[in-house]
Amino acid sequence: MKDVNIICGTDEIISKPLQAYDDRVINFLSDLSRALMNIRAWPDVVSLGFWCRRANLEKMRSTCHEYNFRIGRGLCFHIAPSNIPVNFAFSYMFGLISGCANIIRVPSKNFEQVNIILDIVNEKLKSYPEIYSRTQFIKYPSDNNNITAEYSLKSDARLIWGGDATIKNIRALESKPRCIDICFADRYSIALINSEAVMNANEADLKRLAENFYNDTFLIDQNACSSPNIIFWLNDNENKPARLKFWQAVHEYSDSKYKIQASIGVNKFSKACEDAINFDIQSTRYNNKNLIWLAELKNLDENLDTFRGSSGYFYEYVLNNYDELFKIINSKYQTLTYYGIDADELQSLIIKNNLTGIDRITPIGRALDIGIIWDGFDIVRTLSRIVNKE
């Protein structure tokens, strides 16, 4: 196609589906895994490799009891996200595991990781003709709707990353009647911490918690849908020693790791001023530094999901009970990261209370860990069809 640059994989894609968790796919991915895990300079590439290691794939397969009767939907068109560099590869792997052939539009931004990963994929594909013929990584200007339209017309599934605007645009393009879209819309995420658990944490626990929290937030400037914007405190008493203990630990861990760019410092300051004016929110620069800004919410606004933290700007709220939290949850809410919470109880409470949001409850530190269940979808089951015998 004109203006389309095939940067890796076949020119002529074969859209005949494979079985879900096909052995060839598993062999290919575990082959990739070893090579990816050697790229020590890029922790995100390593973690991609770690994710697609054989043991993990086997484990996933074992939880999909009916995989023998699952087969890919056909051709899957991936509009990969331009935010997190390695997620285009996760998207590709999800497609392969489902048994689909895959056309992946890689992010327009020139991430080093993308090139590294594609070099490895390219090399490994040579030994897997069945996978090669079902793999095509492409680049084209993302504003070229004609191209997107053409791919849409021949796709059996579309995996649309990139937020509300992208989704709206692509949904408007015609696709096959049975085409399935999995859309990753703009979402909102929060953290929930049990103050008592923080008070009971020993030094090592606390340090690990701080590091985990850092990885969920500062590591990507809170700039992922699953990164928390608000920290909810449960069982907090008025003297807030747990909060101080927690933030001091986060501060100590982040101070050495995170370099504050001047413009980010100004952004956080400006944000605090805007919140002060618009919502009468009180905020504190923790330890008089410009690293952690804590903006204390006095009440839970209905539009809470528009309160976005960034680069170390956190909203905080002390919860009296779960009901208070459940009242404001809507379909925007995606991930709830937690510490010291009974996750099983919370999971059933979400169902029992008929909530429209929160698809994911995960310990602090795993906010960014992507998997085949994401954003409330079982991606492999959605991208494959079941051959049912009655």
């Binding site: 996200p81 331009s82 990507i220 400037d221 413009s263 605090a272």
Partner: protein, 349 residues
């Protein structure tokens, strides 16, 4: 001390201690005044811990910040943001506007000599069409126009150089010192480049050029300050060239560049640089975020602002040009934030 009294003092004649005394008294007054009269300013002061000594310049783009009743506002100034950007909105009452004029004239006179002189405005008349709504360009021109006895615009409204008119003007007033004023990029783009293309030279040996507006656009064309000066010198003999650093939010108390290339704070202003990691004050010769302080703004809370520029203070009271006060250098806009993660989401916010 009122501005009226400060105007009686030569603008670069006070050393650190004497300036401090006057300026801090004035700033304390302004601080209290704005706290009492501007609710947005008060909200920032009250809600942030530690309470900041400045507000971000960006707030003027997002809020209409005023410290006087609406019926006292006589003029609205806006920054000339490029399309798609939001603009700063600065509300002036009569006395603030007047003080801006007086202080500007006092400061500039220190560089041009006290008297008024023939003036070439290196811009087009259209910029000034609506006086009650002024852009930064218009405000600059208007501010400097008070120095002009006889005035001429160098360009028509389509930014064509009116070469014949200019030549005639220079012929007529050549024996006087002529003042040229304009914006750095405009001067380069429409004055210098046109003359160069026409292979024409003008005789402005005796003139003084004051220009401002920043170097962002010229830096993108890789034109340095030195090259700017050198090129203008070649094409029209200009030797007396002064850049200034100022912003629409602090019109009047501008920072002029001396013969030694340093920008100077007058007794009407102060300058600080702040460390990004905790907003503490930088040492001399340490780069930081520029904070600008002005004694003038009464109708809006613009007396102490954190800019989005980077700079460094070079010294105080000891510039070889002899002017007292702090002198400094501007290194341009802060580098845009490079956010990790979801840029997609961020930009749409």
């Amino acid at each position: 001390m009122e501005i009226e009294d400060m105007l009686k003092i030569s603008p670069y004649s006070l050393d650190k201690e004497s300036k401090q005394k006057i300026l801090s008294e004035r700033l304390n007054y302004l601080e209290k005044f704005h706290y009492e009269h501007c609710k947005e300013f008060r909200a920032v002061k009250d809600n942030l811990t530690p309470s900041p000594d400045f507000i971000p310049v960006r707030l003027f783009k997002e809020f209409d910040l005023k410290s006087v009743p609406d019926n006292e506002i006589i003029k609205l100034m806006t920054s000339s943001g490029t399309t798609g950007q939001s603009v700063s909105r600065i509300f002036l009452d009569r006395s603030t506007a007047l003080n801006q004029q007086k202080v500007m004239s006092k400061i500039v006179a220190d560089f041009t000599g006290a008297s008024r002189m023939p003036m070439i405005i290196l811009d087009c008349p259209a910029v000034l069409k609506k006086r009650e709504l002024l852009t930064a360009r218009g405000a600059g021109i208007l501010g400097f126009s008070i120095f002009g006895t006889k005035k001429i615009y160098a360009f028509d409204d389509d930014m064509n150089l009116k070469l014949d008119d200019l030549k005639e003007f220079i012929n007529e007033f050549g024996e006087h010192k002529i003042l040229l004023f304009g914006f750095t990029f405009m001067i380069w783009q429409y004055f210098y480049k046109t003359l160069k293309n026409l292979n024409t030279r003008l005789n402005l040996n005796n003139a003084v050029l004051i220009h401002g507006g920043g170097w962002k656009k010229l830096a993108s064309e890789s034109v340095s300050a030195d090259e700017f000066k050198k090129s203008l010198n070649e094409i029209c003999g200009l030797v007396n060239i002064h850049d200034y650093y100022g912003m629409i939010e602090q019109t009047g108390s501008i920072f002029m560049q001396c013969e030694h290339g340093n920008l100077h704070a007058s007794i009407f202003s102060d300058i600080k640089t702040r460390r990004p990691n905790d907003f503490s004050e930088c040492n001399f010769n340490e780069r930081g975020i520029i904070q600008v302080i002005s004694a003038l703004p009464v109708s809006y809370p613009g007396h102490s602002l954190l800019t989005e520029d980077e700079g460094e203070i070079l010294g105080e009271d000891d510039c070889p040009c002899g002017r007292l006060g702090k002198y400094f250098k501007v290194h341009g806009r802060l580098k845009g934030a490079e956010l990790r993660g979801c840029s997609d989401t961020y930009e749409r916010r």
